[in-house]
């Protein structure tokens, strides 16, 4: 059987597209198609990734300018048909900016870019994105300046009620207190899905945790996605 093909949208300022591409091919056992942001059609619709980076230099608000790219219009259309969509870091920011995911990602509470290894608790293991991850806590690098997840109290409640919160910043043992919160996100939120659970956005970078055996928790994330295809 020929390998399935998943799409990765590439913006001029994407800078995690190469790394994501490698991780997806290697651990999901699929082929990939890189879709230039200007392209109004996305032929391979098994699954769509929006990678990290600075799509348009992060000008205005990170992710804002990207929402006007033709490919994102197509992503929005396909999302309604249930196509699985995953946005990582800037991809998450783009998904919130085009309202496919709830909330907004704003300046970290200390105003500084943060890059470090971060423990992430899998808050909801019952999504198709996470059901195959065996560990309760994984270690993924984070690297962002606008990663503070914000949403209104009402929306937060509905995120909770619908089990849409998937990842939280935590300690090694899964504690999710204030001191484990790197950027001031509401309730330590690091990743959420939409109501329908076909769209996932997360700030941490699983694709940066696959290369060296010292930290390869990303492998289980990508392997676990195979069942979505």
């Amino acid at each position: 059987m020929p390998k399935k093909v998943v799409s990765i949208i590439v913006f001029p300022g994407s800078n995690c597209d190469r790394d994501l591409n490698i991780a997806v091919q290697k651990y999901m056992n699929v082929n990939t198609k890189l879709v230039w942001h200007d392209d109004p059609s996305i032929p391979n619709q098994e699954m769509i990734f929006i990678p990290g980076g600075f799509s348009f230099g992060d000008y205005l608000r990170s992710g804002a300018l990207a929402t006007k790219s033709p490919s994102i219009k197509e992503v929005i259309r396909l999302s309604k048909k249930g196509v699985p969509i995953i946005g990582i870091c800037n991809g998450f920011q783009i998904l919130t900016e085009c309202k496919l995911l709830d909330g907004a990602l704003i300046d970290n509470h200390k105003r500084l870019f943060i890059c470090k290894e971060s423990f992430i608790k899998i808050e909801n293991k019952n999504t198709s994105f996470t059901q195959n991850i065996k560990k309760n806590v994984v270690k993924f690098p984070i690297a962002h300046a606008q990663g503070r997840f914000y949403t209104s109290e009402g929306n937060l409640k509905s995120l909770e009620d619908n089990n849409q919160i998937v990842f939280k910043y935590s300690s090694m043992n899964g504690k999710t207190g204030k001191s484990e919160n790197p950027n001031g996100s509401i309730n330590n939120i690091a990743g959420i899905t939409n109501k329908n659970k076909n769209i996932l956005g997360l700030m941490p970078h699983p694709e940066r945790a696959v290369e060296f055996k010292e930290n390869n928790d990303g492998v289980c994330f990508f392997k676990g996605l195979q069942n979505l295809l």
């Binding site: 300022g13 600075f54 230099g57 992060d58 500084l112 870019f113 300046a145 694709e207 940066r208 290369e211």
Partner: protein
């Protein structure tokens, strides 16, 4: 037309002798445009007129050197058709005026130097010097510079993996921001800046030209309108997004066999890029300035030739590939234009509105650029009276590790994306040098930058040698074979004899150390006139070293495991002059520790070989530098959150000297088997001593004192946060 007056000449920084030379070359008076061009081409920055004579003495050749100084960056061979391109460059003055933009554009500039050669940047480093933390400007400068460096590299997607950051009052009004970039290229895909091919088009690409950075002195002409003061910003604003577009589009274009020569527009913008390319190719150029994409209205030829707008490139392409070239740039949303053509005349002919507005012979202008042998004199040392303090071992250690220069730099490096590109094996807080895997391979390179200005200020030659040796040692400690360096020479005013002395001595020191260690200089940068109100910075020749690790599993970091033993390699004499310890006691005078380059080589070769042959025994490795043995050990404890039991050898007479002495050429090797290393050291006649064992959660110097590692970490972490949050 503007008359060339005496004051206009001196405002352009051109001496009378130089002006006479200009007349001789042109066989006539220059016009304002031509004067402006001479002034930037013959500036210290472009012509290296005060240092050229001495820089020529540096060793630049070696079996692994593919390209030494002279091109945009140096290139070394790392095997399997892979080559590493690297260089360091300063952006000191702009960063003092506008720390965020100044530092950001510094990073942008050095990255362009790397990717013009066809390489993809794979790592950035930076070496920073700020004034005293007590100086009112220091805090803003620090946060602006670090944010500027981070934001730029992060946006382009190149990991910033290491560097150094020190504070000293000599930098109060002249901070140093030296940025280093390392790129990877296939040996047969290197691009140079040698213009060739009569009739070939000259393509401009990137940001539109504005009036950025046209220097104060050269603003003298009367042609500007009323609000010209405001419309000629001296500081350039960086656009990392534009840089990313340039990087990707150039990489795409470079796959297509279209480019004959390429050069970024750095200092002196269009002028230096066009002159240098033409001069290297011994050809002429016609420039049509009407075609230059401009951001502002009514720009004059003078402004266009001298603008330092960032994120621009110039290239000569094959005529048959012109259309395709423009198409690729368009895809990336970049402005590109054909602004000139290569000729055989050997002249630079500049046209504007269909008339010839400037005509200069290229070779003579480049070749005849002044070279000075400025007088130098050893300065007489002035001794200030000092009130010495006495301190205990414990409080000295705590003072050092919580001091600005030795506190944890996590506040800095956490602002840098170190994990993008997925090849950062060690960023520099994890190992003595940063270790970056060569993508898709099992090899890695190690990179580091080092300088000790306190040593250099006392004895520039020895201090510079120590800088070279320290970088060499850092590479060895990471498990690498050192290959070559880049240098960034930061000094005061070379027209002063004492400063010229420092410059000559420092260069001599680099030369001696590099020759001895077989560690050639492949690129570099000079930044002079770093002084304000007659107060010069300490001489700061920063060394950026690069080495190769053939098998990444042999790379070593600052790791240790419970039960490991720590050995010291090398001789400890207890040299305290100019040490961190003495500074804490308010003793600021003396000489740097002596450096025996043979000893350096011998110890380095031993460590190198031991890691190679007994990889599985060695848990980690660390060099001993500022603060001596005890600070090096404390760093290991802090990094691993593990305790140590340290035993001062019985033959040691003065434990303070032994613990804090800064003798050179020493390493700590952390091993899990003590017999083998002892045996090998004995055979090789290496001075080796076991001094500590990894154990428990206390940092303990037996019979002296102990402290919990938790506390040690707290001391080490607090300074930056307190300083910034204040």
């Amino acid at each position: 037309m503007t008359k060339i007056t005496q004051s206009l000449i001196s405002e352009h920084g051109i001496s009378n002798d130089e002006f006479n030379l200009i007349r001789e070359i042109l066989q006539r008076e220059p016009n304002l445009l031509e004067l402006g061009i001479f002034s930037v081409m013959w500036s210290e920055h472009c012509s290296y007129k005060s240092t050229k004579k001495w820089l020529k003495t540096l060793p630049t050749k070696g079996e692994k050197v593919i390209c030494g100084p002279g091109e945009n960056a140096g290139i070394i061979d790392v095997g399997d058709d892979d080559a590493i391109v690297f260089k360091m460059e300063s952006h000191n003055h702009p960063s003092f005026i506008e720390p965020y933009q100044g530092a950001a554009t510094g990073v942008g500039g050095i990255m362009r130097d790397i990717f013009t050669m066809g390489a993809r940047p794979i790592a950035n480093l930076n070496s920073l010097r700020f004034g005293s933390p007590k100086h009112p400007k220091t805090r803003n400068l620090l946060s602006g510079v670090v944010k500027g460096i981070g934001d730029y590299g992060n946006c382009v997607g190149i990991p910033t993996v290491g560097g150094e950051c020190n504070f000293h009052e000599s930098y109060n009004n002249n901070i140093l921001v030296n940025a280093m970039c390392i790129g990877l290229v296939k040996k047969n895909k290197i691009f140079y800046s040698i213009a060739k091919g009569i009739g070939n088009p000259l393509i401009y690409v990137g940001a539109k030209t504005g009036r950025d950075g046209i220097h104060g002195a050269t603003m003298a002409s009367a042609q500007f309108d009323d609000d010209s003061e405001e419309s000629r910003p001296q500081v350039q604003v960086g656009d990392p997004f534009m840089e990313k577009l340039l990087l990707e589009s150039c990489q795409e274009l470079m796959k297509q066999d279209a480019i004959i020569a390429i050069q970024d527009m750095g200092a002196a913008g269009l002028t230096s890029s066009s002159f240098e390319m033409a001069s290297k190719g011994s050809c002429g150029v016609k420039l049509f300035l009407d075609k230059v994409p401009c951001r502002e209205e009514k720009m004059t030829p003078y402004e266009m030739m001298l603008s330092e707008t960032q994120e621009r490139m110039l290239m000569v392409v094959k005529p048959s590939k012109k259309k395709n070239t423009l198409r690729i740039f368009k895809k990336w949303g970049l402005e590109a234009a054909e602004i000139g053509v290569i000729t055989q005349t050997g002249n630079m002919e500049i046209f504007f509105n269909n008339s010839l507005v400037g005509k200069l012979p290229i070779k003579p202008l480049a070749d005849a650029s002044p070279e000075y042998d400025r007088p130098s004199k050893k300065p007489r040392k002035k001794f200030k009276k000092e009130n010495h303090k006495s301190v205990s071992i414990k409080s000295a250690l705590l003072k050092i590790i919580s001091s600005p220069n030795h506190s944890s730099k996590s506040w800095i490096y956490n602002q840098y994306d170190r994990s993008v590109m997925c090849d950062t094996y060690f960023s520099s807080e994890q190992s003595d040098s940063a270790v970056i895997r060569i993508h898709n391979s099992n090899k890695a390179i190690a990179v580091t930058c080092d300088c000790n200005p306190i040593y250099c200020n006392s004895e520039p030659m020895l201090g510079a040698q120590i800088g070279v040796a320290e970088s060499w040692r850092n590479l060895i400690a990471s498990g690498a074979d050192p290959i070559a360096i880049t240098d960034n020479l930061n000094f005061g005013n070379p027209e002063k004899e004492e400063i010229m002395y420092q410059i000559k001595e420092a260069i001599k020191g680099i030369k001696i150390a590099c020759e001895s260690l077989n560690y050639p200089v492949v690129s570099g940068n000079v930044s002079l006139y770093n002084e304000t109100k007659n107060k010069s910075i300490f001489p700061t020749p920063v060394i950026g070293g690069v080495g190769l690790i053939k098998n990444i599993s042999q790379s070593k970091g600052l790791k240790m495991k419970d039960g490991d033993n720590i050995f010291i390699v090398g001789n400890s004499f207890g040299h305290l002059e100019l040490s961190e310890f003495n500074r804490i006691c308010n003793k600021n005078h003396g000489r740097p520790p002596p450096l025996d380059l043979n000893e350096e080589k011998k110890n380095g070769a031993f460590v190198r070989k031991f890691i190679k042959n007994h990889n599985s025994i060695v848990t980690g490795c660390h060099d001993i530098s500022e603060g001596g043995i005890i600070v090096a050990l404390a760093e290991l404890s802090i990094r691993n959150a593990k305790g140590l039991k340290i035993k001062i050898p019985s033959d040691v007479k003065n434990s303070i000297k032994w613990l804090f002495g800064e003798d050179q050429s020493r390493y700590l090797l952390i091993v899990n088997n003590e017999n083998i290393i002892k045996e090998v050291a004995r055979k090789e006649r290496i001075n080796l001593q076991k001094i500590a064992k990894v154990d428990g959660d206390k940092f303990c110097v037996i019979k002296k004192f102990e402290i919990s590692v938790k506390k040690l970490i707290k001391y080490n972490n607090k300074w930056f946060d307190n300083f910034i949050e204040k």
